[in-house]
């Protein structure tokens, strides 16, 4: 039905965002397009709907039955968008018109595409809501009255309004918690009929494997592998990506692919993955591999293999428990800590009854979905928020007794790494200035700065030659390492990492975790590792706390929690994570 051949898309800046890509989507088929940030997958979605920025050029062909999509301009797209191809755009949840009712927006799409009468369109709108399993009264709701998952369902209903042959869903589950993600993917799978094809675009390879019939994997603008979703992976990048997903089993190694994806301008004649590939040979650098059939799949690699060892560096996992506990005593202790947010209209319990000890050299994981009180916990430990109940002791000081300057002095002994590496670094400061900032704030003598900065960069795994760069000249992973280096510069006793990996590409996450592990073991640093990803916590932590609606519902070693979760939320969480990761992936192991 949709046949893409030799598709090349060039942005106005002259660099190809997508190069010689070809794949098909059949009627009634779900095809997944997977890849990391900047791989070009969203560019393909935009090209299919004519939404590329003006000045972009598209060569090759993308045919939907008899309809050629490449080379259309302006008004040619009417009758295609929405009518033949429906889209669930990236960030659709935030992309509904805020001041019009859901019903208005649905009937508008129905009427624009089908010339239905007003009454018929309303009936159809209710019908569409039913298809995405929303009640009929959603029609009178405004977007802000719906949850993220509900809004995503509305976006899917909108994509279906014109009865299109093909639905393109761009990152439909990003930003939703795991349980809701699974619901949305189920819904998309159920919407498949024998006439409608679905192109599912996501960075989340394991999630795609659960619903798609076939998967195409992109890297740096090229298609590296496509084949049946449940078949074996052959390309080293695909295999690396799968192995980079943290498993719930601690003995399954968790790897990261070293390096970062090349900028389009740096692409040479060879294989784009060659600089990061463990199987690289001389011909890889000079010759671009051509897609060729390997088993059921098509692979663009000179050395495809589904069983050759990968040799990517795995993140070290702990043996559990650290010897120095009794000798030194805890770095921080929370006793009966609770917090209630009060506004004029309501009270929200953010935390209740938290008892925790943080030991030197130990990584303590805090797992929970958004709104579970994870970040509130971090704020309380930093003394940025006074808990409404309980006692917090950090480095031997009761925080409730401290004010002003003395409270701020406590923060000089703590390191904090925030979720978003893009906003957390001041855009006008250089790496050297950024890393030295805590020293300047703490009043450390100036002549000590340079040495401390160099050491912190080294501990965070950053090359020293980045020292003069500004944040916009760094990749996401590098930025997060700068944030870690900054947190380490003041020689903290405790490092608090609040979702520090969640905005990074999958292939680099394990590297960050490895760095934290190394720090804990070599310097005796205590780490509070906050995450929503159970697998990641299992892989990187010595001990875990599961938070749900502010209450610590289970505490223990990773294997205890995964092996015997308490009924209720922990059990649901473990089940959802198992489903998400699917049956143990068919990959080569990392050893």
């Amino acid at each position: 039905m949709l046949t893409i051949t030799d598709l090349t898309i060039t942005y106005p800046n002259g660099h190809p965002a997508v190069q010689d890509v070809g794949f098909t989507v059949g009627a009634g088929e779900i095809v997944a397009l997977a890849g990391e940030t900047g791989s070009g997958k969203s560019t393909i979605a935009k090209a299919l709907l004519g939404l590329l920025p003006t000045g972009s050029t598209v060569t090759g062909s993308a045919r939907l039955d008899d309809l050629e999509l490449a080379g259309r301009t302006g008004h040619d797209w009417y009758g295609v968008r929405g009518r033949r191809i429906g889209i669930v755009p990236q960030g659709a949840m935030t992309g509904l018109n805020p001041v019009r009712r859901i019903g208005d927006q649905l009937t508008e799409s129905v009427r624009v595409h089908t010339q239905a009468s007003r009454a018929a369109a309303t009936a159809r709108a209710v019908d569409l809501l039913d298809q995405v399993r929303l009640p009929a009264n959603t029609i009178d709701a405004y977007p802000h009255q719906l949850s993220g998952g509900q809004r995503q369902r509305v976006a899917i209903a909108l994509a279906l309004a014109g009865e299109p042959q093909l639905v393109v869903a761009d990152e439909p589950t990003t930003g939703l918690d795991l349980v809701t993600q699974n619901h949305i993917l189920d819904l998309l799978a159920d919407l498949r009929t024998k006439d409608v094809g679905l192109l599912l675009i996501s960075h989340d390879l394991p999630a795609l494997r659960g619903v798609a019939d076939r998967i195409a994997v992109m890297y740096a603008g090229t298609l590296v592998e496509s084949g049946p979703a449940r078949g074996a992976a052959h390309h080293p990048y695909t295999r690396g990506l799968l192995a980079a997903m943290p498993s719930l089993e601690q003995d399954t190694p968790w790897v990261s692919i070293p390096g970062t994806a090349p900028a389009r301008a740096d692409l040479g004649a060879g294989c784009p993955f060659a600089p990061r590939c463990p199987w690289v040979t001389a011909s890889c650098h000079t010759q671009r591999p051509v897609p060729a059939p390997v088993g059921n799949a098509t692979v663009a690699c000179h050395h495809p293999s589904d069983d050759r060892p990968l040799l990517f560096p795995p993140a070290p996992t702990s043996g559990g428990g650290v010897g120095s506990r009794q000798a030194v005593g805890p770095v921080a202790t929370l006793t009966g800590v609770g917090h209630v947010y009060r506004s004029r209209h309501r009270q929200t319990v953010a935390l209740a009854g938290v008892d925790l000890h943080l030991w030197p050299g130990e990584i303590l994981g805090v797992v929970g979905e958004s709104g579970s009180g994870k970040s509130t916990l971090a704020q309380i430990l930093l003394g940025l928020l006074r808990p409404s109940a309980g006692r917090v002791e950090v480095a031997g000081n009761d925080l409730s007794l401290l004010r002003g300057r003395r409270l701020r002095a406590i923060r000089h002994q703590l390191g904090f790494v925030a979720q978003d590496p893009y906003s957390a670094l001041h855009p006008a400061m250089t790496v050297a200035q950024l890393v030295a900032e805590p020293l300047r704030i703490a009043g450390t003598p100036r002549h000590l700065h340079a040495a401390r900065v160099t050491r912190a960069l080294e501990l965070a795994g950053l090359p020293a030659d980045l020292i003069g760069r500004r944040p916009d000249q760094l990749s996401g992973g590098q930025r997060q390492r700068v944030a870690i280096a900054r947190a380490l510069a003041g020689d903290p006793v405790l490092l608090i990492a609040d979702e520090a990996t969640s905005m990074l590409d999958v292939s680099t996450r394990a590297g960050i975790a490895a760095t934290l592990r190394h720090l804990a073991e070599s310097t005796g640093l205590a780490v509070l590792f906050i995450t929503h990803d159970l697998g990641e916590a299992v892989q990187s932590c010595d001990r875990m706390v599961v938070l749900h609606e502010g209450v610590p519902v289970q505490q223990g070693g990773p294997q205890d929690i995964v092996g015997s979760p308490r009924p209720g939320y922990p059990a649901d969480l473990v089940a959802a994570a198992r489903r998400y990761l699917g049956a143990p992936a068919v990959t080569g192991s990392g050893d």
């Binding site: 889209i87 805020p98 001041v99 019009r100 508008e108 624009v112 009178d140 009255q145 209209h345």
Partner: protein, 337 residues
């Protein structure tokens, strides 16, 4: 599914927000009351000094006694304030120092003219300013959009009194097609009288519109240009909604929300701000009454007009606050902070 049950708490939030706002209005009103009360008592050269244009000593004892009695100046301050409030509740604003006419009567006569002038001007200004602003916003950075921007900035820069003078010169003196002062010419009845009033309105309204569209234009242009790439606008394009429809139904309505606030602010502002234009065109409105009162040190009239102006601004603000949630469902739910 909680969709169905949402509207009820939304309404409570709205009521609560309105209540909070009301407290604010009461506070502003109280301050305005105090200012108007202190006006004749605190200004350098109070009523005792300036009445009759001379110094205190020059005032003959009888006149002086009259003023002291009129303001109760021989009483302690709190007694004076109590009396002032009591009179106010009875809508007794005293009598003008110039001619002894009750101030309430003068205001009652002037206010409708000002409301007519300002109401017409603001509606026209908003209509023209928004229309041009939308055009310029959609074409931002292109030839036509820039030209429009330059033209509007030029008019916005011109002082109203100067434009008014030039208009009188051209339309009144040279062309002789339009009346240039007052609100009526004697001798018209019925429909002709309406036409007469309308023809008197043309020039002052024209000047206020020409020199006033700038704010509406800029607010609209900025808001529309910002909304061009809003996610829901791009989403609507991606769904295949025709361009014109996207602009009309998805881009403009959210983008024009700030214009509503601007409209209400302008209404409140112009009630006093039309003063200059009223003076130029000898238009017997509230602004001119205020100006003449200040010039003639006519304290009772000054107090009356200031109070009226403040109340008008407050009423406009309240209207803006009350009607805004009708336009923006998000505010309806949250209440305003």
């Amino acid at each position: 599914m909680t969709v169905a049950s949402r509207p009820a708490p939304a309404r409570i939030g709205l009521a609560r927000a309105a209540l909070g706002r009301a407290g604010g209005y009461v506070a502003v009103f109280a301050v305005a009351l105090t200012i108007t009360f202190l006006l004749p008592r605190a200004l350098p050269g109070g009523p005792l000094r300036t009445l009759g244009g001379g110094e205190v000593g020059d005032l003959d004892p009888a006149a002086r006694a009259k003023v002291v009695a009129a303001y109760g100046l021989d009483q302690p301050l709190h007694v004076q304030f109590g009396r002032y409030l009591r009179d106010l509740i009875r809508l007794d604003l005293g009598e003008s120092f110039n001619g002894g006419r009750p101030v309430v009567e003068a205001i009652r006569e002037a206010l409708p003219w000002t409301l007519l002038l300002v109401g017409t001007s603001v509606l026209l200004t908003a209509a023209v300013g928004v229309l041009l602003g939308v055009i310029a916003g959609l074409r931002r950075g292109r030839g036509k959009g820039n030209l429009l921007l330059a033209g509007v900035l030029l008019f916005d820069a011109a002082p109203a009194f100067w434009v008014g003078m030039l208009c009188i010169l051209f339309f009144g003196v040279h062309l002789g097609v339009l009346p240039t002062f007052g609100v009526t010419t004697a001798g018209h009845t019925g429909l002709a009288a309406v036409g007469d009033v309308a023809s008197h309105l043309v020039l002052p309204v024209g000047v206020l519109v020409a020199t006033g569209i700038g704010q509406f234009f800029l607010v609209t242009r900025f808001s529309v240009a910002s909304a061009l790439h809003a996610p829901h606008v791009e989403h609507a394009h991606a769904r295949g909604i025709p361009h014109r429809r996207v602009v009309a139904r998805h881009l403009l309505r959210p983008a024009l929300l700030p214009v509503h606030t601007q409209l209400m602010m302008e209404l409140g502002w112009l009630v006093g701000g039309a003063l200059v234009v009223e003076t130029v065109f000898a238009y017997p409105g509230l602004g001119r009454l205020t100006f003449d009162a200040i010039q003639g040190r006519d304290y009772p009239t000054m107090q009356g007009t200031f109070l009226t102006l403040t109340v008008t601004v407050l009423v406009m603000n309240a209207l803006a606050d009350l009607t805004y949630p009708l336009l923006d469902p998000r505010i309806r739910a949250r209440g305003r902070s």
